[in-house]
């Protein structure tokens, strides 16, 4: 059966727009698993990202990251708390390109849905194809593209939705290490050209530090904010840079991992959801 269409409560107009950004305060959300038991996915999470900011969310598996993105994209409503969101587009973990459409038609999907005629939608998507290194693959179907190219097409589809907020769910998780590094560099450049508010969910702490303005560290289920790390470093960042490594250690210790876990944890334990939320507020 198709997924039933739910009312899009969080992004309905009566909820004030957070100035092309997102803001969650004390948001909790539970869902029912297959056996009908209630599972707390998020517990009192407060987060925000201002216009043009890239917020990375890291956490162990099952920390409610996907729930968080679905809340922001209006696919779910919070049980408690206040969520203020500009319209957001989702780039799912799997690229979910439509196999019967060419790369160009997939990229132009949002424009077609918005009501543009096919030729016009394709023309607008084609303009960005060269920029994203996809030139010459307009007519190729998804099964003819490499993993990295599919992700780029999926990103372009998300970008062309024209929404001010982009939610990227582990966009590079399924790629090999070399392609992932290329794609991270590419994403950085793409966002410089087309600034958006981005929520990047990732398992990869290093990726988060290299790309984000701020990194939110979530705890295992139920997801709570463990730490929020400001990344005030010039771009492009190298993963071997000492400052990047230091911040990575901080994030890892907040996750309860990493070489410095013992001492860092001691320092970080005071930083639970409530207190950490106030940190890192951008100017």
């Amino acid at each position: 059966m198709p997924t039933e269409l739910q009312p899009r409560a969080p992004s309905t107009p009566q909820i004030a727009r957070a100035n092309d950004g997102i803001s969650l305060s004390d948001v909790s959300r539970a869902y029912r698993d297959q056996r009908g038991a209630s599972v707390q996915a998020l517990a009192s999470v407060s987060l925000h990202a201002d216009h043009g900011e890239l917020l990375a969310v890291v956490g162990p598996s099952g920390c409610g990251k996907t729930t968080l993105l679905e809340l922001i994209c209006g696919l779910q409503s919070p049980d408690r708390g206040v969520l203020q969101c500009s319209p957001a587009a989702l780039m799912p973990q799997r690229d979910l390109l439509l196999p019967w459409l060419s790369a160009l038609d997939n990229a132009a999907l949002a424009l077609r849905i918005a009501g543009l005629p096919r030729a016009e939608a394709r023309a607008r998507a084609a303009e960005l194809f060269a920029e994203l290194g996809l030139e010459g693959f307009e007519a190729a179907h998804p099964h003819e593209l490499s993993g990295g190219m599919r992700q780029r097409v999926a990103f372009l589809r998300t970008l062309l939705s024209g929404k001010p907020v982009l939610c990227l769910d582990e966009p590079f998780g399924a790629l090999d290490a070399i392609t992932r590094a290329e794609m991270q560099a590419w994403l950085g450049r793409a966002l410089e050209r087309e600034p958006r508010t981005v929520v990047l969910v990732t398992h990869d702490v290093e990726e988060a530090i290299v790309l984000a303005d701020r990194v939110a560290v979530l705890s295992p289920r139920p997801g709570r904010l463990r730490a929020e790390i400001e990344v005030d470093l010039p771009r492009p960042r190298s993963r071997t840079d000492a400052a990047v490594i230091a911040l990575r250690e901080r994030a890892l210790s907040a996750l309860g991992l990493g070489a410095a876990a013992g001492q860092e944890m001691g320092m970080r334990t005071g930083m639970d959801s409530g207190t950490a939320a106030g940190m890192g507020s951008a100017p």
Binding site: M1, P2, T3, L5, E70, C73, G74, L75, A88, A89, L90, P92, R94, L96, L98, P99, W100, L101, L109, A110, R112, I113, A114, H141, P142, H143, R157, S161
Partner: protein
């Protein structure tokens, strides 16, 4: 071409072996040639009656083609309706399944009684037989669309209709044709039953009528020859639809090496 020949080799060998065994058995005199003619007698009959048989084939082919197209259209439409409305699904599905249990050989003469000897009763029989696999594969095809895909379309603000158009319809169309591919072989049997029940006169009343008329006048070899034509026609239909499906949904055939 060479690869195709290599691919067809097992089928050719099997058919040759079966024909050989049949030939030996028929020539041994264990049965009368009016009951089981030898393959070479059937081949001779096929050759000398080529005109008659091809005429009758064109009649049967027209019925099957029309019936299949109708079944495809009706089956697809019903599949879509069943998919979109759970109430309709509960209302129609049992009836649809039940329609397959209706003994066609009983229904066919009744239809003739009601509708006369024209094309219509034959079409109804063929459609009745063919539309069920189309409905089932369409419903399955529509339901097999990735729920995450539909979720994604929702984040792009797609309406229900747009989700249907961009995601569900293209997924279901090749599935429906796959159903038609299953249906066409039984559809040929349906055509035979319909013709043997409905045609009362005329030399060109279809292969089904031809087979029946020949059997009752002890022209067994010609009846077998007509059956061979019917057999070849069913195989041709099946592979034609496979090709149509492959053309329509090239993405779905990436990992499927069958039936070519």
């Amino acid at each position: 071409m060479k690869r195709r020949l290599v691919n067809a080799m097992p089928a050719i060998v099997l058919v040759a072996a079966l024909l050989g065994a049949w030939e030996i058995y028929a020539d041994s005199g264990a049965t009368s040639s009016s009951i089981l003619p030898a393959p070479h007698t059937i081949a001779q009959s096929l050759w000398s009656n080529a005109g008659l048989l091809s005429h009758n084939l064109s009649v049967t082919a027209e019925e099957v083609a029309l019936g299949l197209l109708l079944a495809l259209a009706l089956g697809f439409a019903l599949g879509v309706l069943i998919h979109l409305s759970p109430a309709l699904r509960r209302a129609c599905y049992p009836l649809t399944v039940g329609s397959q249990a209706v003994p066609i050989a009983v229904i066919a003469p009744l239809l003739v009684f009601l509708l006369g000897f024209g094309l219509l009763p034959k079409l109804i029989v063929i459609v009745l037989i063919c539309f069920f696999p189309v409905v089932v594969t369409t419903v399955d095809g529509l339901a097999a669309v990735d729920p995450d895909q539909l979720k994604l379309l929702r984040t792009l603000d797609a309406s229900r209709l747009q989700a249907f158009r961009f995601a569900e319809l293209p997924a279901a169309l090749p599935a429906a044709i796959s159903g038609a591919r299953i249906a066409v072989t039984v559809g040929v049997i349906g055509a035979y039953i319909a013709e043997s029940q409905t045609a009362t006169s005329g030399a060109y009343a279809g292969l089904g009528h031809e087979i029946n008329a020949d059997l009752s006048s002890l022209q067994t070899a010609r009846a077998y020859a007509a059956a061979v034509v019917l057999f070849a026609f069913a195989i041709a239909c099946f592979y034609t639809l496979s090709e149509v499906e492959r053309r329509l949904a090239p993405w779905a055939n990436q990992s499927r090496g069958d039936l070519r």
